[in-house]
């Protein structure tokens, strides 16, 4: 198994890039649900999936549940992976669809209605990697909390557009393919999301 594949945080090949034959071979093994290949796949993509669903849902418990659901779907659909293509858009599509289904569910609406705001403050401390500078850690933690809260105040389509573009680094065309809307609409949503986020954070980031 190539080191690059198993190393956590290694950037996957971008869409449109020529397929790496070692990666193709690994994805082929994932297709066959080879345990080693599945473990490597998980290591490579878990953080990315978790990061997306956490930023979209804004809640650690919900994000863990959602990540579990996404990997359940991945396991079930592993035989449909195209080894010749970057699996990131496929994973992001699964994650986005799962979040969208959740947002549409009555369970989510009930959860939102009864959600407590108290749980997120200590959570922020655990989410930000610590440094040796406590003051810097505190500022980073507070900034993260503010941004996360502002994201949650955006409508779900706007949140998807800005998180996928600015946090996940996806292009508008990729987001369009993932969300199933056209490119122009994605750009428009992104612009609106960015303007709204700027307004929400205007005072706190000044």
């Amino acid at each position: 198994m190539p080191d690059r594949f198993v190393q956590e945080g290694t950037a996957p090949p971008r869409s449109g890039a020529p397929p790496d034959m070692e990666m193709v071979a690994e994805l082929e093994r994932v297709r066959q649900r080879d345990p080693e290949a599945l473990a490597a796949f998980f290591e490579l993509y878990f953080d990315r999936v978790y990061g997306l669903v956490y930023r979209l849902l804004g809640d650690r418990v919900q994000a863990e549940d959602m990540a579990q659901e996404v990997f359940l779907k991945v396991h079930r659909a592993a035989d449909r992976i195209d080894p010749m293509r970057d699996p990131i858009p496929w994973l992001m599509t699964i994650a986005h669809n799962a979040c969208r289904d959740l947002w549409r569910s009555n369970a989510w609406k009930l959860t939102r209605r009864s959600a407590s705001l108290d749980g997120d403050s200590p959570l922020a401390e655990t989410l930000t990697p610590g440094t040796n500078d406590p003051e810097r850690d505190l500022i980073a933690s507070e900034r993260e909390r503010l941004v996360q809260e502002a994201l949650q105040r955006l409508s779900e389509p706007l949140r998807v557009a800005i998180v996928m573009h600015d946090y996940q680094g996806l292009g508008h065309d990729e987001i369009a393919a993932i969300t199933g809307i056209n490119h122009a609409a994605v750009r428009k949503r992104y612009s609106r999301a960015l303007a709204a986020l700027g307004r929400l954070l205007k005072d706190s980031l000044a």
């Binding site: 569910s105 941004v147 600015d166 612009s191 960015l194 980031l205």
Partner: protein
């Protein structure tokens, strides 16, 4: 508007974008991550832990389909109950002794007990020297005189089943109606005649030779049973013979006119109240 062109991005939006891009990756609970990886590799990954999934559309549809007949039945029962007219109540009793209701004696002094027994279809016999007045707030008062055997009609429904039927076997009943009775129809059958009442005051008298119908006000349709009916206006009476002779019409009997006038006047106020 283009979100990627710097000249179109406001300073606060640019700061927000930088803050978002600078966010550190969230760190899940290491134990959760390890467990999920183990389950994913082993293929034992489960459904989401805490979220309550909504009932899938098909199951919800099945529930709705299953509950629909019950809802329809409930709706029908509610409509039937709402439509059902108020029952008969005993307005007054005069005389002593007991009336016979469906073969069982009921003391005339006990109006409450009598009222409980007098359901639509009940056969009421009033003893000699007595009188019973029944009322329904659907605008109907029936005076059952001494020696009469009367089968109670249902009271008219509020919207449906506004046509009701009773019977007089022998004796005399007087009927008067109020505004609340408008649109309803009471049919009274005697051994030889049929009487249709839509809004009037009248008496139906069963005599040894036939049935006499005296009309005090309004118009009543009268005829031999199973034969054509004619309208009898106020101040007139019609006699239907039981020996096959053709019916005859004449002026209302003066005595009956007086009794009907008194009956009508005594119940006018109550009937107008019932209409409100």
């Amino acid at each position: 508007m283009n979100g990627e062109r710097p000249d179109l991005v406001t300073p606060e939006a640019a700061r927000a974008r930088e803050a978002l891009r600078a966010l550190a990756p969230p760190r899940p609970d290491p134990a959760f991550r390890e467990r999920l990886k183990r389950d994913f590799v082993a293929g034992h990954i489960g459904e989401r832990r805490t979220l309550v999934l909504p009932i899938p559309g098909r199951r919800r549809l099945a529930w709705r389909l299953a509950l629909a007949p019950a809802a329809l039945v409930l709706l029908a029962v509610a409509a039937w109950l709402a439509n059902r007219g108020p029952g008969w109540s005993v307005m007054t009793t005069r005389g002593e002794g007991s009336a016979i209701v469906d073969g069982a004696p009921v003391p005339l002094a006990s109006r409450e007990q009598l009222g409980r027994r007098l359901r639509p279809g009940a056969r009421l016999t009033v003893p000699a020297g007595a009188e019973v007045e029944l009322a329904s707030i659907s605008g109907l008062v029936v005076q059952v005189t001494a020696g009469t055997e009367f089968t109670l009609p249902a009271t008219p429904g509020r919207w449906l089943q506004r046509r009701v039927t009773g019977a007089v076997r022998h004796g005399e009943v007087r009927v008067t109606t109020g505004h609340a009775f408008a649109g309803a129809l009471l049919r009274l059958d005697t051994p030889e005649a049929a009487v249709e009442v839509t809004g009037t005051t009248l008496a139906v008298i069963c005599e040894p030779t036939g049935t006499c119908v005296c009309v005090y006000d309004g118009v009543v349709r009268v005829g031999p049973r199973g034969s054509g009916m004619v309208g009898v206006p106020n101040g007139r009476r019609r006699f239907v013979f039981n020996d096959g002779r053709p019916p005859e019409s004449a002026e209302i009997r003066p005595m009956e006119n007086t009794k009907l006038a008194r009956f009508r006047d005594s119940r006018r106020e109550w009937l107008e109240g019932a209409a409100r």
